[in-house]
C-alpha cells in the first residue's frame, strides 16, 4: 500500500505557515488601520499566502527525500530556508512597489526604514526564528503525520 509519505511531508510543511497566515493578516490589518502604516494588503499578502506555505511544503518534502542520505537536523535544514525565501520576498516586494532601496537603507511600505546595518541583524533573527519553527513546529507535525 502506498502511504504517500511525500504528500504527508508537504501537508506537515504547509501547516505552520498556513496557521501563521491568520496572524500575518491580523498584523497587517492592525498595522494599517491602527498604526496607519500604508501596507497594500492585497499585494503584500501574496508572498505569505501563496508562496511561503508552498515553499515550506516543498522544503519538507526535500527533507524527507534527504532522510536516507546524509542530512542536517530538521532545525538547521529549516534555517537554510531564509536564504531562499528572503531574495524571493525582496524581489516580489520590489516588483509590487512597497519596497524601495535608498542610500540609507531599505524602505518597506513607504514608512518603515531599515538601515543596511540592521538588515544583517534582522536576517540572523530570521535564521533563529526559522530554526526554532522547523525544529519544534514542523518537526512536531512531521511526527504527528508519521514521518518524523
Amino acid at each position: 500500500m502506498n502511504t504517500h509519505p511525500y504528500l504527508r511531508a508537504y501537508m506537515a510543511g504547509t501547516a505552520v505557515p498556513t496557521m501563521m497566515l491568520l496572524v500575518v493578516l491580523t498584523g497587517f490589518l492592525i498595522a494599517r488601520h491602527t498604526f496607519h502604516i500604508p501596507i497594500p494588503i492585497e499585494r503584500a499578502i501574496i508572498f505569505p499566502m501563496a508562496l511561503v506555505p508552498n515553499i515550506f511544503g516543498a522544503w519538507n518534502m526535500f527533507y524527507l527525500w534527504l532522510r536516507p542520505r546524509p542530512h542536517l537536523p530538521i532545525g538547521l535544514h529549516g534555517a537554510i530556508l531564509p536564504f531562499i525565501l528572503a531574495p524571493i520576498g525582496f524581489a516580489l516586494a520590489t516588483c509590487s512597489g512597497f519596497l524601495s532601496a535608498t542610500s540609507a537603507g531599505l524602505v518597506w511600505f513607504h514608512e518603515v526604514a531599515i538601515p543596511y546595518g540592521l538588515i544583517a541583524l534582522g536576517f540572523s533573527f530570521a535564521l533563529i526564528a526559522y530554526y526554532l519553527v522547523w525544529k519544534y513546529l514542523v518537526g512536531f507535525f512531521n511526527e504527528v503525520l508519521g514521518i518524523g
Binding site: F28, P48, L132
Partner: protein, 107 residues
C-alpha cells in the same frame, strides 16, 4: 500391565508408515490426543467487558495536539540554548516594533 498398556498405545512402525488410518486407528489416535492434552476450561473466570469498555474509553479520548505540543514534558525537553534563542528573538522584536510588519511579510 503398564508396559502392556504402553505398548498398546504406541504406534508401531508399520502402523505409522501406512498411508491411511482405518476407523479403529483413528479412534485410538483421537483417544491418545485427548489424553495428552490438558482439559480446557471453556468458562472465563472473569468478565472481560468492563476492561474492554475501559480500553475503548481510553482510546476514544486522545490528547489534543496542542496539549501534547505544549505539555510540561515537551517544554522540559527543550534545551536551554533554544530558550535563549527564543529570548533573543523576543527581545529583538520588542526593541524594534516597527519591523513587525516586515517580519510578518517574511513568514
Amino acid at each position: 500391565m503398564t508396559e502392556q498398556k504402553k505398548a498398546d498405545q504406541e504406534m508401531t512402525e508399520p502402523e505409522m508408515s501406512k498411508p491411511e488410518m482405518n476407523e479403529p486407528e483413528q479412534k485410538k489416535f483421537a483417544d491418545l490426543l485427548k489424553q495428552s492434552l490438558p482439559p480446557t476450561n471453556w468458562e472465563l473466570d472473569r468478565d472481560l467487558w468492563p476492561k474492554m469498555l475501559q480500553r475503548l474509553d481510553h482510546d476514544a479520548r486522545p490528547r489534543k495536539w496542542f496539549a501534547v505540543l505544549f505539555s510540561p514534558a515537551a517544554l522540559a525537553a527543550v534545551p536551554w540554548f533554544d530558550w535563549a534563542l527564543l529570548a533573543v528573538l523576543i527581545v529583538g522584536v520588542c526593541l524594534s516594533p516597527r519591523s513587525i510588519p516586515v517580519w510578518l511579510y517574511h513568514f
